[in-house]
Amino acid sequence: MYHPTVARLTYRGLLGRRRAFILFALPALLIVISVVIRVLTGADDGTAANVLGGFALATMVPLIGVIAGTGAIGPEIDDGSVIYLLSKPVKRHTVILTKLIVAIGVTVVFSAVPTLIAGFVLNGNSQQIAVAYAAAAAVASVAYSAIFLLLGTVTRHAVVAGLVYALVWESLFGSLIPGARTLSVQQWSLALAQKIGAEGAITSDVGLPLALTLLIGVTTAATWYASRKLRTLTLAGEE
């Protein structure tokens, strides 16, 4: 189920050369902003929830998820080198699972961990806000990685498609149409945060049981379909 060599190659593809720069820049920015806010305004629960919910969970986690999820497989399919991987006697679902594990690991390290640190910097985990948002970021990382890994196998424009989902669906439609929020990874993970955080500190539009069911269901379905997709992959030329 897990192949160390595939994992090593994926990991190097994700964090090699300049790619690591953007992945380091985003969490660094979050922590810098948190420190500045803490120094200027002092500890405040409302502020902490704003920064962690509005910036970390709504913008940073999806973006890192897109980069790690599509980056785990997209470039290889794009330049055709995936054929060398597929010609090895490694099961396709092993390939997908390994890449998913690496993508989840990278997303969690670069989004959930900084969220936890930023939360402690902002208000010292009062009302469990830091832990709640970090947990939300971690489960969101899992779902985002699976979804964007699937997109990477389905379309050559995976990054754009992923961004359309993250920006247009979750941010734009989510703020305009209440129904769209039920189908948003962000809200599902907020349901978990609501459970962990103190009463009334964090709100979500989705109930916890439904949110967890959807999270697990989407992750499993996306992974299954991605490995199915990889079994019937056709390599197309550059448009």
Binding site: I33, G54, F55, L63, H157, V159, V160, L167, V168, E239
Partner: protein, 299 residues
């Protein structure tokens, strides 16, 4: 053997296989630059490329224009005395669409040249480095201008058809056009600089969108906190740190726009000068960075 070579039989060759030199007009550097410009501009909307690459830019163009058409329809139907949205506000509201368009098309314009190593081929033609950068920059800015100015034109024509006040509408339209020209230049510069760093298209897309949304997300979060603390001076200054709020600040200070900053606390004229300086410095700076990037080509 063609008749030309019969008229002047060469004495110094063993066997004349009929090669001829090119004796037509040499179209030169300006022509090459123009071609590169028009090819890049068409490419930004997928014209002259496959159907699949037309889908995204055309969809985004449609998404950009649709709200304008709806607003015009509403204004005409309800006999409103003014448009529901200012001309200058339109691009700010639809910034996500502009960002996506830039993220999708800027890497398309420059990353592929780097990745397939076609850059040396361009420079084997009679164009200089500055021609390549100018052509790509101008093409990207023009593509963005088309994207952002088309809905304004729809609004303007609609407003005139709805018999709104001609002078007010023309003034608003002109201010809107100036603002989207600045926006197009700024966004094109930033997008191309980021995209030219990486030959990977997918990664370029993510990097461009990261620069736009992360800076905006950070700025608006901090502004929201400043508003909650009643620190209205800070709100104006923080806007300097993200592209779209920079444009917002400039048009609030000089193009009589209502600011989209939290609480409408845009910069005044004094701070507005700083905004304009930063804006122009960013445009010039991104041009300079692009020139530096292409000093050594072929990665």
């Amino acid at each position: 053997m063609p008749p030309e070579s019969l008229t002047a039989p060469a004495q110094d060759v063993i066997h004349n296989i009929g090669y001829r030199n090119y004796s037509g007009a040499r179209l030169g550097r300006a022509y090459a630059r123009r071609s590169l410009f028009s090819q890049s501009l068409r490419g930004a909307y997928g014209l002259g490329r496959s159907t699949k690459s037309k889908v995204l830019p055309m969809t985004l163009f449609g998404v950009m224009c649709a709200p304008a058409a709806i607003m015009v329809a509403v204004a005409v139907a309800t006999k409103a005395t003014k448009l529901p949205l200012e001309y200058t506000r339109y691009a700010i509201v639809l910034q996500a669409v502009i960002g996506l368009y830039l993220a999708a098309q800027a890497p398309q314009s420059v990353s592929r040249d780097l990745r397939f190593k076609s850059i040396p081929l361009y420079f084997s033609r009679p164009i200089e480095r500055v021609d390549y950068v100018v052509a790509k920059f101008a093409a990207m800015a023009s593509a963005l201008f088309l994207l952002t100015a088309a809905p304004l034109l729809i609004l303007y024509v609609g407003a005139l058809l709805a018999k709104l006040d001609f002078a007010t509408q023309t003034e608003g339209f002109a201010q809107g056009l100036v603002s989207v020209v600045l926006l197009s230049l700024l966004f094109a510069g930033l997008g191309l600089v980021v995209a030219a760093v990486t030959p990977r298209r997918g990664f370029g897309v993510a990097a461009v969108i990261a620069v736009l949304t992360i800076s905006y997300g950070a700025v608006s979060t901090v502004q929201g906190i400043a508003l909650a603390r009643d620190n209205t001076d800070a709100i104006g200054w923080i806007g300097l740190f993200s592209p779209i709020t920079l444009i917002d600040g400039v048009q609030t200070a000089f193009l009589s726009a209502t600011s989209a900053f939290p609480g409408g606390n845009g910069p005044g004229t004094g701070a507005g000068v700083v905004y304009v300086v930063v804006l122009l410095a960013l445009i010039a700076g991104s041009f300079g960075l692009l020139m530096r990037r292409y000093r050594k080509v072929g990665l």
